[in-house]
Amino acid sequence: MDAKHSRQDSKEQATSAQPAEQVQEAEALTPDELAAQWEAEAAEPAGPIANLLSSLVVLGLSIAGMVLSVGLGLGTPAAPAAGMWPFVISLIAAVMAVAQIIIGRAGGRDGEKFSAMSWYAAIGFATLILMVVLMPVIGFEIPSLLLCFVWMRWLGGERWRSATIYSILIVAAFYAIFIAALGTTIPRLF
């Protein structure tokens, strides 16, 4: 099958005279060790470029917000017009974005780097959008089936057979609950 799916990160436990002791060591973790272990397992922080990019996006959006708000009219503090409040919010966001560009230029420890696995989320999003587009046209059954199958087979690493069987079962269950039992008006084919 696709080779990229079978990651070969075998952890080899060396031969040891007293394996039981080794096991003990691996299990008895103090809270501090556990916190350290979680930190080691956690994804890498997003880094300075991500910080800059996200702050710039926020800055751009807030400037757009300010421009649109001015278009709505600001009024005076005593008699504010429709644009006053959104203008103030956008201004705060813009100031904060600038502050974040300066303060967070070293990167900070928040966020997560995108990895090869992030494509999975992107594909997941694409299937969801596809479902939104298709549902009004051909009903929910076929898009749901497709979504289940794609998520199980390619995003989840199920085998062909189990992915097919589970997808059909799930869609049938949803049909039974949402259409037959609850009688909702979800667009449907059958």
Partner: protein, 511 residues
């Protein structure tokens, strides 16, 4: 007995078989979804919001309370059995709970967690019963300036207390406030940021935002994160805690409950902080602190009592002031609004049956949780065996189809998906969705009160400081706003790098 009359009436409402059934359903479904990794109480409630549609308001809220407690306990189960905290508030449960499970005392740990949760909630509900009417009557005098200050303080506290970067949290809150302005302006009737789209004219509904950011965002995030090897099956034997266990834990449960109650009332406080504080307190007061981290039952009992007590008492600011104290309460606030209930000081007098029904439903929810949790542990262990690859599309479909059923609107589903992507990206770039959702919920309340106060005060912002309550709240607001700056200045003066490293580590831990 004038005071207790409505309280008892509330029990009558809750004990109605239909309501009990819905509560039971909520607890079970909440536990089932809460057990899934990555889906904490906020996500669980968000995903299941459509389930409460078309149901009587009281019944819907009873069900939500059940879902809430079930989800909370679901996180505890994975903490104890798998060392995987389902949510931030059960992180500390891992330390001793997992060790206990390894020692073959998983049943005792889960049992004491259920008993502690029940006790903590009981203390909080009793406290709530007496405190809520007081706060509500106090808040009846609040005018627009007070509400403005209170809402601002609430948003700021949630933004600054949440883990992660404060500035990013404030940006998220600003985004939430901005989204709340979309649609027709209530004062001038002008259409704001609708771009001629009819679906936007009435503004964005709260539900798609919550379902997208918390529900679908988390599901998308899990698609890339779930590549973790399975662990060996956990043996859960000796399910009930022994008398000795209960005796050992009783002090911790009592202390945790009281601590949790008070921490839960504070805006921005809540279950996570309460559980951390309780663990620290238990460790400090213990005769032999070295037992902690090695299977001390107090280390499970205290935090679990505290987080449930806090989760319950954070209903106080929501029900009496109409100000949700944290993200989960923001979602419940949204759910109440959908049911046509506006939480606030008037609620307790205008609709006492509903108010006390809600309060007592929490009580029933906890009793059901206590009864259900232990016999069902076998079921949960089986659920843990289902692969995420199969669960992910199921939760995604529940969210999508659920979102459609709310208003039979495809546009809502599209919004859920878009906000799902935004939620995912926010998580990747280190922005918390909590402040956004909270700010969105409070957005229109904040704006209308601010504009009303400006009208009353004739555009003079210093007028806020002439009223004692709003002045106090605003001083507090300013203090909270500049506190990080002060704190970093103090930290800088302390040149010892070790302390700051420890603090930084702790903060990361809390996040």
């Amino acid at each position: 007995m004038e005071f207790f009359g409505p309280v008892l009436d509330g029990f009558n409402v809750v004990l109605d078989p239909t309501n009990l059934l819905y509560c039971l359903l909520g607890v079970v479904v909440g536990m089932l979804i809460g057990v899934l990794p990555g889906l904490g109480p906020a996500a669980t409630i968000a995903i299941l919001l459509p389930m409460t549609y078309g149901v009587e308001p009281v019944t819907a809220i009873i069900m939500l309370a059940g879902i809430f407690y079930g989800a909370q306990y679901g996180g505890t189960i994975t903490s104890v059995l798998l060392r995987l905290p389902g949510e931030a508030s059960s992180v500390v449960t891992v330390f001793d709970g997992y060790v206990m499970a390894k020692q073959g005392r998983a049943g005792a740990a889960l049992g004491i967690a259920a008993i502690g949760s029940f006790f903590g909630a009981t203390v909080s509900i009793i406290g709530l019963t007496f405190l809520a009417p007081l706060v509500a009557s106090f808040a009846l005098d609040f005018g627009p300036p007070e509400y403005t200050a209170l809402a601002m303080l609430g948003i700021l506290l949630v933004a600054t207390i949440s883990g992660g970067t404060k500035i990013k949290a404030i940006i998220a809150a600003a985004a939430g406030l901005f989204l709340a302005t979309i649609g027709r302006d209530g004062f001038t009737g002008a259409e704001r940021f609708t771009f001629g789209n009819l679906s936007l004219a009435d503004g964005i509904d709260f539900v798609p935002i919550a379902m997208g950011l918390f529900g679908l965002g988390e599901i998308l995030y899990n698609l890339e994160e779930r590549h973790r090897a399975a662990t060996a099956p956990v043996k859960v034997s000796n399910v009930w805690p022994k008398g000795k266990d209960i005796k050992e834990a009783s002090g911790a449960i009592g202390r945790g409950s009281v601590l949790g109650f008070f921490l839960g009332i504070l805006p921005g406080g809540g279950a996570t902080i309460a559980s951390l504080a309780s663990y620290a307190m238990e460790k400090k007061t213990a005769k032999d602190p070295s037992r902690f981290g090695r299977g001390a039952i107090e280390g499970v009992a205290g935090p679990e009592s505290a987080n449930n007590a806090a989760a319950t008492s954070s209903f106080i600011p929501l029900l009496t002031l109409g100000i949700p104290a944290n993200a989960t309460m923001a979602i419940i606030f949204g759910a109440l609004l959908i049911q046509g209930i506006t939480p606030g000081p008037q609620l307790i007098n205008d609709d006492p049956q509903l108010f006390w029904g809600v309060v007592n439903s929490m009580y029933i929810g906890n009793i059901l949780l206590l009864i259900m949790s232990i016999p069902l542990i076998g079921v949960f262990v089986k659920i843990l065996r289902v692969r995420a690859a199969i669960l992910a599309p199921i939760t995604a479909l529940i969210t999508m189809l659920g979102a459609y059923t709310i208003r039979n609107s495809m546009f809502d589903v599209l919004l859920v998906v878009l906000f799902g992507a935004i939620g995912y990206l926010m998580k990747k770039f280190g922005f918390e969705p909590g402040p956004l959702v909270l700010a969105f919920v409070l957005g229109s309340l904040l704006e209308s009160n601010l504009r009303r106060s400006l009208l009353v005060l004739e555009g003079d912002p210093t007028g806020f400081f002439t009223r004692p309550i709003s002045a106090t709240l605003l001083v507090l607001f300013v203090f909270v706003a500049i506190w990080p700056v002060i704190k970093s200045a103090i930290d800088k003066r302390k040149t010892s790098s070790t302390t700051s490293a420890v603090v930084a580590d702790k903060e990361k831990e809390n996040a």
